[in-house]
Symmetry: D2
Subunit: 135 residues, 4 copies
Amino acid sequence: MDRVRQMFHHHPAPASDAGDEAFALVKAAAECTYTCSTCADACLEDSDPAALRKCIRLNLDCAEICSVTAKLIARPGPQDQGLLRAQLDACAAACRACAEECESHADTMEHCRICAEACRHCADACDAMKGKLVA
Amino acid sequence: MDRVRQMFHHHPAPASDAGDEAFALVKAAAECTYTCSTCADACLEDSDPAALRKCIRLNLDCAEICSVTAKLIARPGPQDQGLLRAQLDACAAACRACAEECESHADTMEHCRICAEACRHCADACDAMKGKLVA
Amino acid sequence: MDRVRQMFHHHPAPASDAGDEAFALVKAAAECTYTCSTCADACLEDSDPAALRKCIRLNLDCAEICSVTAKLIARPGPQDQGLLRAQLDACAAACRACAEECESHADTMEHCRICAEACRHCADACDAMKGKLVA
Amino acid sequence: MDRVRQMFHHHPAPASDAGDEAFALVKAAAECTYTCSTCADACLEDSDPAALRKCIRLNLDCAEICSVTAKLIARPGPQDQGLLRAQLDACAAACRACAEECESHADTMEHCRICAEACRHCADACDAMKGKLVA
């Protein structure tokens, strides 16, 4: 993802000085999109997918929401701050709900343990980005 | 979208009795996804796209967020209510921000007038769905 | 989705006279996105989701691809014809693979029967749109 | 994205030995999704966005298609090979069309130069992955 960071420096009119937080969030949300996609697939392939329905649903929801967050934050130009704030709230909520569920079976499922880490990391990156939004 | 409605009736374990609100929201959010996509494209093709940058950005953001809302709501099984609430808030915020911008030039741009209608309709459908979520 | 159709008539520079086929495809691909999302969710909630893994995966893949097709076709301005052709091929392939799988258990699962119909309808709409692309 | 790679090793039933190519493609397609999103935004903010309409459209299309490719490939379980092949073809076509357009003004626009690199890299990763699909 280094090319994204480089491109942030060449954007003609970045709306803020939040480039570092923004790039960190694009990276975290992209990673979380794909750890959740892989986790849903691994849970589906488990010997007892019926026991993992809740995890699969949260994985799919979280992947969708993180994917949009990364796209919105990858646009450094001027954006509606209220819209961004609401999206960051939704993303952090999705990541935390998914992390909690994955953590509940992290002892026995390594893919869930790793996915929960990615979710926590993305939720924190959402919070850091929120701190850079203007009133 | 009638097939979506029919399928809701054949889902083996719907989590709630919110089928009508859910279907109305899937329809409204799908429509808004594509009116916003068309509006961004029409603004880009306008003789002066530089004057429409804000509208194009809000169209693109709103299309992304509505698309995810429709996907999440199209899953009638049990879902995390806090996550849904946050997504509905983000979606309503995106729709209202986009509607406001589109309305500001609805007098001269018919595609913006129609797009604003779709955005308002989707925001209202988000609110109706929120009323059906459990605490 | 009527607002999308209306907006097509107000686009300042449509690239072709394929408005009818384009609108039909946006509608079919949007419907298929959400029937597939609902079908995956219904299969996951089935008493034996392990028996439906293949159907769930194809539903998820088909929903993703149809969603992008609808977004691309909802932009009436000039687009790369080779790119569109490849996307329409991918979409028709996804829809037909998903339809075939859903049809294999349509006798016992009504949601799969309906979803297969939506997939076949979207695949045909892709073919009709391909016929309107320029060499 | 290292967590995605780790999770591939813990998937209970990977469908093939294409883990290295798959992970490389998830990484390349994710990067390309976001370089294209940033490039569209930078072009929109350019002093003359009307001159960059084609680039903006290709950026948006390529971002959508790459995003789906990464999601599909992030599922290591058994998948329909014909569907994957068609999606990889569409993705490579989108990346090459976008790269060509970006390269045409890479001399004066550094963000386009970098974006074209990401597009070429992703197209090559699609080709490498195609070589691992079974007949």
